[in-house]
Amino acid sequence: MIDIVSTLRRSGRELIAHIDFPLLLITLTIMAAGLATVNSATLDSSHRLLSQAGNMGIALVVMWFIARLPPHRLMRFAIPLYVVGLLLLIAVFLFGIKINGARRWLPIGFTRIQPSEIMKIAMPLMLAWYFHKYEATLRARHFIVAVILLAVPFGLIAKQPDLGTALLVGSAGFFVIFFAGLPWKIIVGLIAAAGAAAPLLWGMLHDYQRKRILTLIDPTTDPLGSGYHIIQSTIAIGSGGTFGKGYLHGTQTHLEFIPEKHTDFIFAVFSEEWGLVGNVVLVFLYTLLIGRGMMIAAGAQTMFARLLAGAITLGFFTYAFINMGMVSGILPVVGVPLPFMSYGGTALVTLFVGIGILMSIHTHGGRVNK
């Protein structure tokens, strides 16, 4: 009898052994807010509450599995995942389906996949593994190789064109290189060069991307197209005021003025109904999430774990910042969802793969073979 109880207790402990509770608690809180907002956004039309809850369940299971894998086993996925991701991106380039003028999807039988999603994880994993491998002998040429490993998928995704995802993948890779010790001189130089190259970059942008940037400066130039999104979402945020219009009472939301309101523009819905107070709380929650991630990175034992944890954490920040920035009208409209809030299974699973990796790094800390 006692044996059974203690066995149960032991296996219970074993089940949760690799869960980091602060991290779980923060993400669950943000997701609860997300779920409520998805409900509000889709109440009049498509009712996405249950399917989003289902997505969250799946994502949590994925997280649990990943968290149980020790970092040195995660490391083994680095090359295969990167190579598969790269091949799929090339396949998209060659045979992808065009939707909305962009070639992002690859048809596989009954459905289609978006391979750039894989790169969001594969890129930091690959670069972290690479720097880890050459840790003892790190030279300039290793940084050059890393930049090439970063540039090829980045170029393929930007070419699709999917500026949003390219930015996320590119920044994830850059964060690894930054944490690996890219000299400050080069970083400052890069920033200066980027400023100088801006006009050149402008020439390389697609028409619709330029339009988005111009629209940002003056949204009224394109009120039927992308300017419409920005105009309506800023009205939603601004009219929310300090305390918001109250849950389910956002007029902009419920009168169908906000486009893509349960996906990329969900923040406008949240902001209209919860106001400035809600926004500050949400930004605080993201700050806590990033803080916890940074703590895990600081305590990580190996180069691999350290770089990966740091890059993933800053990745969360990038998602959140770009999304809230675009919805509130200070960044151009690119297709980036708000992490843990926006509706959509694929993005959520990707995010929880990231959370799972952080947990794995944290809970396997002492047992890592160097």
């Binding site: 909305n100 992308s226 009219s239 007029t251 902009q252 700050t287 600081a298």
Partner: protein
């Protein structure tokens, strides 16, 4: 140990960088909070006003669709304004009673109600939906007198598309119809969805579809304040729409009309091309249909009749019908032989009236044969034996290579339909083609005996009339090939600025001038003393031509077969021509389905087209069917 020290230092550096990263995160998040404070605290009143008191909405203003006109300015597609009776659902109390009451004033048919229901499902609440289109002046007056009874119902002037030539050139202009989900996908792929807010029609076939984004124009909009009920309170700003571009064609509608009449009730196709530019002068596919039927949504009875008619009027035979070229293939074979050095013009064969290959005998059309036959005579008298032998000497690989360079068996890229997938490729037979076409290994093998009948344009050969016209134009133009096209220039409706569609040379075949002269002379001979002589008797210009007859019962062209299982198994008649022979301004290919001999029914149509185009002469008995014409033509 050194290693340890490094690791510690590394971790130290890493932590420093983490701190920097956290600082950047805090600064940027701080900036966001700043932005939120600006929007939600400082500017709150501004946005509250915009969101709550007055909801501003944008009402798209649909632009005028561009006009399509022929080379002489004859209008083929335009818009006219008509009154429609429209209901705004959000402003009426009860839809059903409103419509019932309206029906007492104005004639409303059950089909009008049905269409209204369908449109209502697609429309947004504050949009007005038409219940009746094309009101007469009388009806407008009647309604206006009783208007006070019908809140939310109004008479509006809307633009409708019209094709004033009705059935003439309908396969060329195509037609527009209501936007479906499939059209929507296309519009999204082109990144045009913002510009199509408010648009409910889109090009479905022909030029209307190919040049959709030229013809459509830029949607304007009106910014209006609406109250909570969705009623427009006042207009704030109006950006007028920009009309779509007009298309000026290379086509001559008069020539087109005369040609269509010449076909009478016979099925067939004709393509006439200006060799030096590729501009299409006439593109006829009979029977035709009336594109006006489609504009308002075709009724199911009309659609059924058009779609299930055994003559298949909806098919554009010029680009979607693939037919064996019959003896019109011979001049191209002869040119190939000269270019590849397989024959000289003088080299003669002795024709006993048949050709034995293996244990099969290929018969010539003329019993007893043509005697001694050189290249000139082989074309003028259309001698089969000459080409049986030639095909065997050249081999299928050489034939396929040369015919491919003439554009046979390939899409021409003519500017019709959404993209060139609407055009049939036809069949350019080769061992590779056969391997792909058939599944069983024994069917995949190319037999040398199959090459023989390829030489006289039979066998697997199947080409579209536009391909034959293009190949003829290449010969007429000394080997320089242009993409056949219908639009000459695109005209900005407002500024009148013209954007010419440049003639695009696809390639120069680099044919030897003396070889072309041999073929030209022989084709002139056809119309002077050969199979085309009767049709071209007394012509005041010199025309080069070649007759052809394609056998229906032995037809193996995969694409045509599907929709051509017919009661009638008469041969198809063909004719290719260009004129004036020394400096050609027109090249054409004619096909008359089940027309019998090429000389009999196809050549007179070609004569009539050339008479009109070169002399301005209208047909009077010129298109006579000369049953007595003797045709010495193809045999399998």
């Amino acid at each position: 140990m050194n290693d340890f020290h490094n690791a510690d230092l590394d971790r130290e550096r890493f932590r420093f960088r983490l701190v920097i990263a956290v600082l950047v995160v805090l600064i940027l998040f701080g900036a966001l909070i700043g932005r939120f404070t600006w929007l939600q605290f400082i500017q709150h009143e501004v946005y509250r006003t915009r969101a709550d008191d007055n909801r501003i909405t944008l009402i798209p203003i649909v632009p005028n669709r561009g006009v399509i006109q022929d080379r002489n300015g004859v209008v083929m597609a335009h818009n006219y304004s008509a009154f429609t009776l429209e209901i705004t659902p959000s402003q009426t109390n009860d839809l059903e009673t409103t419509i019932d009451a309206l029906a007492e004033v104005i004639d409303i048919q059950p089909k009008d109600r049905k269409r209204f229901k369908r449109l209502l499902d697609e429309a947004k609440n504050f949009e007005s939906v038409p219940i009746r289109t094309r009101l007469s002046d009388d009806e407008v007056a009647k309604f206006t007198a009783q208007r006070y009874r019908f809140p939310g119902v109004e008479v509006k002037a809307r633009l409708f598309r019209q094709y004033p030539l009705n059935k003439v050139a309908s396969h060329v202009t195509g037609y527009i119809g209501r936007i479906t989900d499939r059209d929507l996908t296309w519009i999204e792929e082109e990144g045009q969805q913002a510009n199509y807010k408010g648009t409910d029609h889109v090009g479905k076939t022909g030029l209307e579809q190919h040049y959709e984004f030229e013809l459509h124009g830029e949607t304007g909009y009106e910014e209006v304040e609406i109250d909570a009920g969705g009623r427009a309170v006042r207009s704030l700003k109006r950006i007028p729409p920009v009309s779509g571009n007009n298309l000026q064609l290379t086509l001559d509608t008069r020539l087109q009309e005369i040609t269509e009449q010449a076909f009478g009730d016979r099925k067939g196709a004709l393509v006439a091309i200006e060799p030096a530019t590729g501009g299409i002068l006439a593109m006829v596919s009979t029977p035709t249909y009336d594109p006006n039927l489609f504009v308002d949504g075709i009724t199911s009875e009309n659609w059924k009749e058009l779609n299930e008619h055994p003559d298949r009027p909806m098919i554009n035979r010029t680009i979607n019908g693939a037919y064996p070229p019959g003896s019109t293939f011979k001049p191209f074979m002869a040119l190939a032989a000269l270019e590849m050095g397989k024959r000289t013009p003088q080299q003669a064969i002795s024709d006993p009236g048949f050709y034995n290959f293996g244990n099969h005998t290929f018969r010539d059309d003329k019993k007893g044969g043509h005697g001694s036959v050189d290249m000139y005579k082989s074309i003028v008298q259309s001698c089969d034996t000459y080409y049986y032998m030639l095909a065997n000497d050249m081999g299928i690989g050489n034939i396929a290579k040369f015919m491919g360079s003439l554009g046979l068996g390939q899409r021409t890229g003519v500017d019709l339909g959404k993209d060139d997938s609407g055009e049939s490729k036809g069949v350019l037979p080769s061992p590779e083609w056969k391997k792909q076409r058939f599944k069983k290994p024994e069917q995949q093998k190319w037999y040398a005996g199959e090459t023989i009948s390829i030489g006289i344009g039979q066998g697997y050969n199947a080409y579209t009339p536009i391909q034959l016209a293009q190949a003829t134009a290449v010969v007429a133009n000394n080997g320089v090939m242009f993409r056949p096209h219908l639009v000459k220039e695109i005209i900005n409706a407002k500024t009148g600025e013209k954007r010419p569609i440049e003639p695009q040379p696809i390639r120069d075949l680099k044919l030897k001038q003396q070889n072309i002269e041999v073929i030209r002379r022989a084709m002139v001979g056809v119309n002077k003393e050969g199979t085309g002589a009767r049709a071209f008797a007394g012509a005041p210009y010199v025309a080069a031509g070649k007759t052809g007859t394609a056998q229906v019962y032995s037809l193996k062209g995969a694409e045509y077969k599907a929709h051509a299982i017919k009661k009638e198994l008469r041969d198809h008649a063909l004719f290719i021509a260009f004129a004036p022979a020394d400096k050609p301004t027109i090249a054409l290919a004619v096909l008359v389905e089940n027309g019998g001999f090429g000389a009999q029914s196809a050549a007179p149509i070609a004569r009539m087209v050339l008479d009109y185009y070169l002399l301005g002469k209208l047909p009077e008995g010129a298109a006579r069917e000369d049953a007595a014409a003797v045709e010495a033509d193809a045999e399998p």
